[in-house]
Symmetry: C2
Subunit: 251 residues, 2 copies
DNA sequence: AAGTGGTCTAGACCACAGT
DNA sequence: CTGTGGTCTAGACCACTTA
């Protein structure tokens, strides 16, 4: 009832009798108003705030609109909702933020640089302890290990080691990894699912340092990902970013 | 119309004439079906997928339900939507993931450990280059610098340096920071807004290393945050996590 | 048993962007 | 202009949780 809403909104505002509060009928406006009350201290942390029903009456909109606004706030961790109990302002300053992590090619091209992929090594190899755990294999189960570098305008931007388990993944002729990044081959050829990833810091070992052209031991960001196929882990990747790289997180 | 939906759903399924496809009437089911088609290659990257109207007819549900499902997928970066144009499967393997970053106290207590805050130093100090840039002050504008440690069962878990700009922030008696973490004081007393943060890796300087009880130069994760008040940056915090700490990101 | 959030529906209008 | 997604509404039923 967007049209009629505006009409009745005008009617309400022009009627002499009433409406100490302007109608809020977009979910963004409701979210903003609730946020304002929280930040202004009207609803301190831990407060049980009014029900959707009550808010929809107060704001002069449908309950679904209030629900949408509150869902957004709950997704951000600002409030916590439980059936029958109600909605509480989150007591702790916890946040759920959105992290945008593009594929490396996009990251580099997005900076206006030219992307180049360089394979370093490609060989069957016994798993590292991390790979063993991530892929749930034994120490003697050899895996295909592909090491590579991703260059931005011919400057090393990221170096990557990826283990692929040939027991649960039908691998192509490994020579294709000389030209195509394993991640892109996976994305194109298999319906793999990422089951989350980790962000950590590590001092570079000598081979990675050589690959990124910096001193060994330099602290860099490292992202570890496991790709799964039908809930079975099939690949384990470790991406070492060049020093001073940072992940920006929007609020 | 959840009840009537079930009724008509049964009616449709029992009618002899038709319905090669079961009715999908929850947004989760629709999201799953669309995801399946994308992953199965029925809708390869770049494909323009059917309109909400078409999908609502095919799935036998309201357009609003399709819209909810598609919005979730768009929020995850799986598809891209534009008015008049339609909805495309995202060409690049970009992801938008949710990062949960609790307050340090919650992080430690969530592991079942006891939390303890220890202030290290608290003094007026000229800004570091990073602080200058983050808080938009000059090199001669001295700031309050509070250094502290957050302990988990008396083991250092994180060490923190936070700059507060007294020109734009009315500070309390600094001695309160001997007992209360600055972040918690800020959260309780000021309607500060976080304007995003950065995640990076750094080798520990000697004082931080001492504080965390590890060797200088050890690579650690570092989170930088700026808190703002009415869009004016008022505090700049750098949190150094102990080695081997990792951020887990759900997909 | 009752109250609260979670969701679905059918219809409507709006905003935007191609034609 | 037209078509697409974005949103709002009013009403309804369901799911979960506490009393």
């Amino acid at each position: 009832m967007a049209g009629p809403t505006n009409v009745s909104s005008s009617a309400l505002q022009s009627s002499g009798l009433v409406q100490h509060r302007r109608r809020l009928n977009t979910w963004q406006a409701i979210r903003a108003e609730v946020l304002r009350r929280i930040r202004a201290g009207e609803w301190p942390p831990g407060t049980l705030i009014p029900t959707e029903q009550a808010l929809s009456v107060e704001m002069g909109c449908a309950r679904a609109t209030v629900n949408r606004a509150m869902r957004e706030l709950a997704d951000s961790g600002i409030i916590q909702r439980r059936r029958k109990v109600g909605t509480r302002v989150t007591a702790t300053r916890s946040r759920r933020s959105t992290l945008r992590l593009p594929a490396i090619r996009d990251e580099i091209e997005g900076m206006g640089a030219s992307y180049r992929y360089v394979m370093t090594t490609c060989e069957m190899s016994l798993p590292s302890p991390e790979a063993m755990q991530a892929l749930q294999v034994d120490a003697q189960d050899s895996l295909l290990l592909v090491r590579s570098r991703h260059m931005a305008d011919d400057v090393p931007h990221c170096c990557e080691a990826i283990w692929l388990n040939p027991r649960v993944l039908s691998l192509p002729d490994p020579t294709i990894f000389e030209k195509e990044p394993p991640q892109e081959w996976l994305a194109r050829n298999l319906p793999v699912e990422q089951s989350g990833f980790s962000i950590l810091a590590e001092g570079l070992t000598s081979d990675c340092a050589l690959s990124l052209d910096v001193d060994p031991g330099t602290a860099v960001l490292l992202i570890e990902r496991v790709n799964s196929l039908d809930a079975i882990p099939v690949t384990f990747a470790r991406q070492f970013y060049s020093p001073n790289h940072r992940l920006m997180v929007d609020d």
